[in-house]
Symmetry: C2
């Protein structure tokens, strides 16, 4: 009995070591393929330079749908198809104007209307400014101090947070809800400090939403340099006024699509593993890091598998989600289609934190699922993937959680992301080829392990 | 007895936990200081934009010596001083010219003379080209195939290496020794593919040396795009010729300096911990990543300690080494001064792999020293410093190994480094503020731990 147990242990250890070796070789090949023959970078060049901005409902978004479908067809994936979704259609209109009127001095500052905002009256809005650092501070001031003014939200992202997404999470309520809170106390507009730790002249746009029962007042982001200047002048002269004019508009919902390509599973074709990013971008930007990178990496995952002759047991799908930026209709629509078609999604990996050098994966799943993934740590660590643990999956794949899908957020290094986020400088040139390729290979490696070993069923509470 | 032992264990554990907490708080403060009040980025702006290129012996190098001395004095370090060293003084002269003559077609390509190369004759050199992938391949061809020709070394850096410094190490023999090998077989010049995995038009200069007993033939780097074009045309027409003209010259050695600033240790002032980088750069470049970053980070380490009121037990020194690029006279001279003055160097940390996001430290030391550093892993991991283990320390601190100093090489992420290395695009704009600051804080954290806990004596063989 003892001898058998020992023999069993030796056998298990040998098998385990053998499997680890096989996996280690397979993963090494994926990185080699991405780094030596990768296509993600040249695809990204096309998407950003030939197609460019692609806000939901725009001609650019439609071009991106057509082109990514074509790319995946040309790569010979087993099936490529579109999923129709209706998306919000917000347009910026003519470029915004803004200045600080300080006595006779008129100082132009860079602003960008927030996505979803209403326009100002055609002649613009001009009013005194009340600066606050938080929604709570505004509520304390109340109607007396706020009525008739422009509220200026100026709490910076905390530069001491190592993970810049945490710093973003700690400041973005001002952008999302600032206008609603300001309107509640009679403000005529809301200006929000751009969501970045950089000090520059780029206004960072982004989504906002109006609450119910309050007037819809116009709202815009101001560059960090502009915000610092405004704040400093307000200290000298609290009577100064701010002028802004914007011409944005929400049109009726438009028809658009998620774009899906897949390699059919050889043993369990009905179990699906998604790799994805979102195809839409803000209108100001080429959407290189946000999120052209994630889309091109997702197609590259399937290309790598095909190029290496790897036949997945399960079906691997690259999904270009539409409308992450201002509605999430693609993510919601994808989960709806999955439910209607009784598709079983084992896992979904999203890349929407930029095409930067890989650091790890955040996991949303059961303790058993997380524990399985921890077993793979030694296979992933040689590629700089040390940070594998709890964390967000990604907005687009979030709705799949309802069916018990394990969610994985690809985590690249976050230091540079908010320099570019939602601005005109989120360009192809800001993406490094090797960093982008390493991200694609990292996603391929995780998809390979998920495909080969599966995951424990999601019976436990998440 | 048993009880006492248990009590002792509990006490030790409590003390250990308490010490870890104290350290964890101290390190967190260092990162906060670097990220919220850091000066390294603005210093780097001055060094790159106001001073610019600073090859050993140049006016720029002297300005950098004067300015860094002044900065450290202004920061109020306990002692700031210069160490005189004589340095090689190579100058590029007028910009190089080069073209491929393919029948009647004349195609201009970007080249840069390698540091230390001789000039061509005033009218340039023109000859047929023999392409090789290695020094060994050249030796096999021998005099018959090589005599009177220009040797074209075209082995690329291996893009599949995760660590780009390994890829560099696998290709740089062509640059360092290519001219000597080519001259041995009668070549009239040597052209070397630039040391980068990027595909672009930037020639990457760098050091080379002539062996003894062979003619000194001119040698230059060609951009990777230029190399690809030349290789492709050679396949069509092996008779084509290559022309190049360069005007470089080696002048008599010049007087220069290492710049040293220190905070005196409160308990063991005679034990020194160095943090350093090299102040010289290639002439083509602002030397932002190579190695303005390392120098500014080193001064920042001392500034952070002062700002936080941290009084080190040992003496902490920031050293700006002169002449890493083409002679290492500063590094050698520093170790000589240390020996002459009976200075004991406990440890030295060099940052010379660029101002990129931190990944870890490479250690050259005894097993006991390495083991001590492994105890600190959990304190450093929260800052992305996962890769702590064997690895190079840094060229400038290398000569200190003779006295048993433990050497630490700061390891930032390596993906982008060779895009910029030794070219005109190694500019301030290529450095990200947060990444630079995180590097400085990482060095400060390691210096803090080294200062607080010391290291086992280097009695064992390294």
């Amino acid at each position: 009995m003892k001898k058998t147990a020992l023999f069993g242990l030796v056998l298990l250890t040998t098998l385990h070591t053998h499997a680890q070796d096989t996996d280690s070789v397979a993963i090494r090949k994926m990185y080699n393929e991405a780094l030596a023959n990768g296509k993600s970078y040249e695809w990204l060049r096309y998407l950003t330079k030939q197609i460019g901005p692609r806000l939901s409902g725009s001609a650019g978004a439609q071009k991106a749908v057509d082109w990514t479908k074509q790319v995946m067809e040309q790569e010979g994936f087993d099936r490529v198809f579109l999923q129709e979704v209706m998306v919000p259609h917000w347009v910026r209109g003519a470029k915004e104007e803004a200045y600080i009127q300080n006595g006779k001095q008129k100082i132009t500052v860079p602003i960008a209307a927030l996505g979803g905002s209403v326009a100002t009256p055609p002649k613009g809005v001009q009013a005194q400014v009340i600066e606050v650092k938080s929604l709570a501070e505004l509520e304390q001031l109340g109607t007396d101090k706020v009525k008739g003014k422009i509220v200026f939200y100026n709490r910076p992202m905390d530069p001491t947070k190592l993970n810049t997404f945490e710093a973003y999470g700690g400041a973005v309520d001002q952008r999302a809800n600032g206008a609603t809170f300001a309107a509640k106390y009679g403000a005529v507009g809301a200006i929000v400090r751009s969501m970045t730790t950089a000090h520059d002249d780029n206004p960072h746009t982004g989504g906002m939403r109006y609450g119910t029962g309050v007037p819809l007042i116009p709202t815009a982001a101001i560059s960090t340099n502009g915000a610092d200047q405004l704040s400093s002048l307000l200290k000298q002269n609290p009577q100064l006024t701010f002028f802004f004019k914007q011409n944005c508009e929400t049109l009726p919902d438009a028809k658009s699509y998620n774009v899906v390509g897949e390699i059919k599973g050889s043993e369990r074709p009905d179990e699906i593993i998604v790799v994805g990013g979102h195809l839409d971008s803000w209108d100001l930007s080429e959407g290189a890091h946000d999120d052209g990178s994630g889309c091109m990496q997702s197609i590259e995952v399937l290309r790598i598998m095909k190029a290496l002759g790897y036949k997945p047991k399960r079906t691997i799908r690259a999904v270009m989600f539409m409308n992450e930026e201002n509605g999430l209709r693609g993510g919601i629509g994808y989960a709806d289609y999955a439910k209607k078609n009784n598709e079983k999604h084992l896992a979904a990996i999203e890349s929407d934190n930029g095409g930067f050098t890989p650091r790890g994966f955040g996991i949303v799943g059961t303790p058993q699922q997380k524990s399985r993934v921890q077993d793979w740590k030694s296979l992933l660590a040689p590629y700089g993937l040390h940070e594998i643990g709890p964390g967000g999956g990604g907005a687009d794949i979030g709705p799949l959680a309802q069916q018990g899908t394990a969610l994985f957020g690809f985590k690249p290094d976050s230091q540079r992301y908010f320099d570019y986020h939602h601005t005109g400088i989120d360009k192809f040139e800001a993406v490094n080829k090797r960093e982008l390729e390493l991200g694609a290979a990292s996603m391929a490696a995780l998809a390979y392990l998920l495909d080969k070993y599966g995951l424990p069923e999601a019976t436990a509470v998440k």
